[in-house]
Subunit: 274 residues, 2 copies
C-alpha cells in the first residue's frame, strides 16, 4: 500500500531535527514530512522567522501532523540542544575547524549506535540562504556533509533533512539490500523440465522443416539448447514458454497476420552460425 | 564553497530520469534540481499535463538550466524508453508480478555497473497522485522501492528522484575499480526489441484465441510481458525467440506430433492467476 496508513506501525524515534532560524513555513512542513517518511518525529525550531504555529507548515507537511503537533520552539540554539548528548551540524561549506567531517552514511551509523546506547542526539540544519554560522557549528560534536555535484552543490533544507532521515532509516536495517516487499518466489526448474522444453520446441520446429539442411541439424539443436538453458529458467517460466509453444503449435491461425507483425518478421537467425 | 559554482566540474551523466505524466511544473523543476545536485542530466517527460517548456519548472529548478534545456518530451512511455537497455520502475506499492524488487542501494549499484559497461539505462517515476500503472511497471526490467516508515510511506516525486540520484552519486564513489566484463559478450536489447517480441508473441497467440476469456486478456498480457521481460534478454536471445515463434506461427505441421511430446503437453499455466 502506498501513502499514509494509520493501521501500520508508526515509527517515531531517533535524533531530533533542529532547524536554525527557518524562514518559510512551506520548508518547515516539507521537513516534517521527510522526517515522518523515515521514522523521525522530534522537530525543534530555533527562532522561526514567521512564528509558530504555521498553517503553511501544516499544509506542506501532508498529514505529518504528529511531527507538527510535537514541534517545539526555542529562542536560542543553546536552549534547543541543552538536553542532548551528541549533535551533528550539516554544512555544504568547508569549515576551518578541527571537527571531524562525516558522510551521511557514517553519521547515521554513529547516531544509530548512540540511540541504541540510550543517548539523546540531534542534527542541526541552517538557514535557507546561508546555512549555519561558525559559532553555531562550534556547538556541534561533528560535521556531516553531502556528496554532491561540485558544480551544483546547493541542497535545500528539506532535501538535506530528507537525505539524513533516509540514512537514519537505513542505519536501522540489517541488510541494505532489504526491501519492504519482494517479487513472487520462483521455483528453480529441474533438468527434466528443461529437457521437456527442449524436446517440445525441437519437435514442433522439426515438424515444420526448421532444421534445414539436415546435416546442420546437430549444430542448430546445440545452439537452440544453449539459448534455452543459459538463463536457468524457473519452473514458472518454463511453464509459460511451453504454453506459448503449445498454442502456436496446436492451433491454426484464425486471422491473417496484422501488417505490423508481418513486417517485424525480418529478424531471422536460426542458421546455427552464431 | 556551497551553491552552484561554474568553475567546478559539472558532472552530467548516468541514467535517464523518466517522469510519466507529471502534473506540476514546480515538481518537474525540483526533479531537475535534485538530478543536478547528484550529477544526473537526462530528463525525459511522458505527456506532461501542462505542456513543455514550463516557466514554473525552470524557476523551481534553481539554475539547473542544463537539465531543463536538454529535457525531452514523449507522447508515450514506450517511445521514451525505446533506446534504453535497462529500466527501473519506482513504486511504493507491492506489485503481484515476477519482477525483482531492489532497494535504492542495490538499484544504484546495478545502474552503475551497466553504465560502466556502456548500457543506456533509465528510472521511471509515476504520477504525483498515484504512481505508475501495472502496464507501465511491466515495461521495466526491475522494481526499486524505498525503505519508508510503514505508516507514512508517501514520498513525493522530487523526493524519490532525489534519493535515487543521491544513491547514484554514492555508487560512483564506492566503485572506483572497473567492473569486469563477462566472458561471453551479449549485446543488451533495446526496449524497441523487447516490445517487438511482446507484440509478435501476443499477435500470434491472439490469432489462436489464446487469451480467453476476453476479460482476462489484460492480466494475461501483463503476466506474459512480465515473464518475457524480467530476464533482460539480449539482442541475440530475442532474435532466437522470434525465429522460433515465426516458424511455429507461419508454417503448418507436416507430421503429427510424436507420442512423447503429446504426453509432455500437460503443463498449462497461462491463466494469469499466479
Amino acid at each position: 500500500m502506498s501513502g499514509t496508513n494509520s493501521e501500520r506501525e508508526l515509527i517515531a524515534e531517533g535524533p531530533a531535527v533542529i532547524l536554525v532560524e527557518p524562514q518559510l513555513g512551506e520548508n518547515i512542513g516539507m521537513v516534517a514530512r521527510a522526517m515522518a517518511n523515515f521514522g523521525l518525529a522530534e522537530l525543534r525550531l530555533v527562532n522561526p522567522r514567521d512564528g509558530w504555529p504555521s498553517e503553511k507548515a501544516r499544509s506542506a507537511a501532508s498529514k505529518a501532523d504528529h511531527v507538527i503537533d510535537a514541534t517545539k520552539v526555542y529562542e536560542t540554539l543553546e536552549e534547543a540542544i541543552n538536553d542532548l548528548n551528541f549533535v551533528y551540524a550539516t554544512t555544504a561549506r568547508e569549515r576551518y575547524g578541527f571537527k571531524p567531517v562525516r558522510s551521511p552514511v557514517t553519521a547515521a551509523e554513529t547516531l544509530r549506535k548512540k540511540f541504541v546506547e540510550g543517548a539523546k542526539t540531534g542534527i542541526l540544519f541552517g538557514r535557507e540562504r546561508w546555512g549555519l554560522t561558525n559559532e553555531e557549528v562550534a556547538l556541534a560534536d561533528e560535521i556531516v556533509t553531502f556528496p554532491v555535484n561540485p558544480a551544483f552543490a546547493s541542497l535545500n533544507i528539506a532535501q538535506a533533512v530528507l537525505l539524513m532521515s533516509y540514512e537514519w532509516m537505513k542505519s536501522g536495517m540489517a541488510d541494505l539490500g532489504q526491501t519492504p516487499f519482494d517479487a513472487v518466489q520462483q521455483r528453480p526448474s529441474t533438468k527434466e523440465q528443461v529437457l521437456g522444453l527442449f524436446e517440445h520446441v525441437e519437435e514442433a520446429l522439426d515438424a515444420r522443416g526448421y532444421f534445414h539442411p539436415p546435416e546442420k541439424k546437430p549444430k542448430m539443436v546445440d545452439n537452440l539448447r544453449a539459448v534455452l538453458s543459459r538463463r536457468s529458467f524457473s519452473e514458472q517460466e518454463i511453464s509459460v514458454f511451453r504454453g506459448i509453444i503449445r498454442s502456436l503449435d496446436k492451433f491454426p491461425r484464425r486471422w491473417p497476420p496484422k501488417a505490423k507483425t508481418a513486417e517485424a518478421g525480418g529478424v531471422e537467425e536460426h542458421d546455427g552460425d552464431e
